[in-house]
Every structure is written in structure tokens, then in C-alpha cells.
């Protein structure tokens, strides 16, 4: 592809990783409320070793998503994660911007 960005495209990376036999999870922002750093549809892809490409926030919740992704890769069951300032008791991380996001994490089979 000409004019390819100088950093990898997450979904292309996920395809390459899976073709190499790695366990891969795809995280997607499915809903946002208020001020959210990445729009609905944004992807973060993660492999079983914790390598990742892309983003679902401005770096605020990626660590937690990567942790959940390991379990999704192991179990094969997709899950939905909620992040926001109101969820501080449930999650050690949150969005300092005050918004809320919902992230769908699924295994690439």
C-alpha cells in the first residue's frame, strides 16, 4: 500500500500476528459518553505476550484492557469493559477527562 502510515495499522497487525500463530485479542470502543479521547470504532489489538498496537483511549485505560485481553485470549469468551471516573472502585484506572467508554474485547479465532 502506498502512503502507508509510518506506524502500523492495528487490524493489519492483528492479522499478521494471528497468521504467525500468536493468540490475539481485538478491543473496540463501542460506546462513549461525554468527553472521550478516542471515537467509537477505535481499535486496540493485543497478543498473548502483551504486545499491543492502536488505542482505545489516550493511554489512560490501555493497561487494564491489555490485562483483560490475556484472559479473553485464554478463554475465548468476549467481554465488555466499562471505564469512567465513576468506576474507580471497580477499576484501578479511569478516564481523567471525565468521560466514559465501553470497550468490547474479543478473541481473533
Amino acid at each position: 500500500m502506498l502512503n502507508q502510515p509510518p506506524f502500523p495499522d492495528p487490524l493489519t497487525t492483528a492479522e499478521q500476528w494471528r497468521a504467525q500463530g500468536r493468540g490475539v485479542a481485538i478491543a473496540t470502543v463501542i460506546e462513549t459518553w461525554g468527553s472521550a479521547p478516542r471515537p467509537v470504532g477505535s481499535h486496540l489489538v493485543i497478543d498473548a505476550a502483551g504486545n499491543f498496537e492502536g488505542s482505545v483511549s489516550g493511554g489512560c485505560v490501555e493497561g487494564a484492557v491489555i490485562g483483560e485481553a490475556a484472559e479473553v485470549i485464554a478463554s475465548g469468551s468476549a467481554r465488555i469493559l466499562d471505564f469512567g471516573v465513576a468506576d474507580e472502585t471497580a477499576w484501578r484506572v479511569g478516564l481523567s477527562c471525565g468521560g466514559r467508554i465501553r470497550v468490547y474485547v474479543e478473541r481473533l479465532g
Binding site: 500500500m1 502512503n3 502510515p5 492479522e15 471515537p39 467509537v40 479465532g109
Partner: protein, 235 residues
């Protein structure tokens, strides 16, 4: 999601074909729709709406909630002129996710040595634009300063409804350009759409700084366009 499914989606994105995925969040079952394909009746309106607006989100279909994700091809930038500014703009546009092509009939300017991997067309715009038609998803920046090269594509870009039309040159240069375009029969309201002097006013001075100003101007036009007119964006 299965690998074969992702491969189909990535192949569509690579070939600049708009795609929509519809995912049942409770079962994880996902269906891929490509622009131009016939769509299953139950999801047709959700898919069409996503393609038109470029907006992804949760949609209720009957009593089911599904997640609709739309993948639109990146907007194009056509640069008329393989000049110093264009060298800087080519790299920056790639970083920002635009699909950029440079057209310049002066083969001494349009050389791979100066532009590396950037798509270059060393032809007159009149010929080059036959193969790469302008449309509402395209920005055109004319930066040669040469009316013989710039005027035709500027007129063509206004007629095609490009989401951004910009022309390099001082106010004085531009007022002469306006007179020429009027003589060519271009409507004055259309001429008023030309961004000239080109670029956001950040007092840019060097070629690279001017490229920043042009790219910022294009991004502003892209992000403030009216989605209801059918113009599409990037994600």
C-alpha cells in the same frame, strides 16, 4: 472474530472500499458488508446510514442491539506541484492518514529521488485527473504558482465538490487568479470556496511550516464538513 473475516475486512480497506461490520454483542457473531454489495434487509438501513455518515455505534435492530462499525477509505489529497512544500506535505499527510498523490507535468520536479515512495504523476493535470477523478472525499492543493498548471485543476476541484480547495500565492496573485477563473466561467460563489492564501494563518515561513499550515487547513475542512451532504470522512 475469525481470521478469514478479518482478512476480508483488511483487503477491503486496502483497496479503498468502504466496509461495515455488524456485531451481535451477546453472541459475538459478526457480519461484514462491503459498499456496493446487496445488504440483508434487516440491517440495510443501519449499514446505509453508517456508510453515509461515517458514524459507528450501537444500533437497535428489532429487539436486538448490535454494534455497527464503519471503515471508510482515507480521504485523498491531490497536490498540484512537486515543489519543496509538497515534499514536506507528503510525509506529514501519510502520518495523518491521508492518501496523497502529487501531479506535476514538469518531470524535473516530479522525480522519485525527491519524493521516495509518494505517488507521483508526471503529467498535465488535464490528463492525470482522468485516471484519478476528483470527488467530495478529495482535497486539492495547488502549489505551483503557475496558472498554466494550477488553473485547470482548481476549476475541476470546485466543479467536483472537493471538500477542500486551496491555492498557494499572495492576495495579489489570488486576485489575478480569481479574474482568470471568472473568465473561464467559474461561478463566483464557487471561487470563494478557494482557500487562498493557502493554509491556516500560523505565520508559517519555511516550506515545512507551510505544509503544516496546509495540512491543518485540510483537517479543519474535513472535520467541519456537513456529513448530511453525503461527504465522508476518515477513521
Amino acid at each position: 472474530m475469525l481470521l478469514g473475516y478479518l482478512q476480508k475486512l483488511n483487503a477491503a480497506r486496502e483497496s479503498r472500499r468502504a466496509a461495515v461490520t455488524v456485531t451481535e454483542l451477546d453472541t459475538g457473531r459478526s457480519t461484514l458488508f462491503l459498499e456496493g454489495d446487496t445488504t440483508d434487509e434487516t440491517v440495510a438501513s443501519a449499514v446505509e446510514s453508517a456508510l453515509r455518515t461515517g458514524k459507528s455505534g450501537i444500533v437497535e435492530i428489532g429487539d436486538r442491539k448490535v454494534f455497527v462499525n464503519v471503515y471508510l477509505p482515507p480521504p485523498r489529497i491531490i497536490v498540484i506541484g512537486a515543489v519543496h512544500i509538497s515534499q514536506a506535505l507528503a510525509g506529514m499527510a501519510a502520518i495523518a492518514g491521508f492518501d496523497l498523490t502529487i501531479i506535476d507535468p514538469r518531470s524535473a520536479f516530479a522525480t522519485p529521488e525527491r519524493f521516495g515512495e509518494t505517488r507521483l504523476v508526471a503529467e498535465w493535470p488535464e490528463d492525470a485527473l482522468k485516471d484519478t477523478p476528483l470527488d467530495a472525499y478529495t482535497a486539492l492543493a495547488a502549489v505551483t504558482h503557475d496558472p498554466k498548471i494550477d488553473d485547470f485543476p482548481l476549476k475541476a476541484a470546485l466543479e467536483a465538490g472537493c471538500f477542500y480547495v486551496g491555492a498557494l500565492g499572495s492576495r495579489k496573485t489570488h486576485s489575478a487568479r480569481v479574474e482568470r477563473l471568472v473568465r473561464l466561467g467559474v461561478d463566483e460563489n464557487a471561487i470563494a470556496r478557494i482557500h487562498a492564501p493557502i493554509g491556516l494563518d500560523i505565520r508559517a515561513s519555511s516550506p515545512a511550516e507551510i505544509a503544516v499550515a496546509i495540512l491543518a487547513d485540510i483537517i479543519q475542512a474535513l472535520r467541519t464538513r456537513d456529513v448530511n451532504t453525503g461527504q465522508r470522512g476518515v477513521e
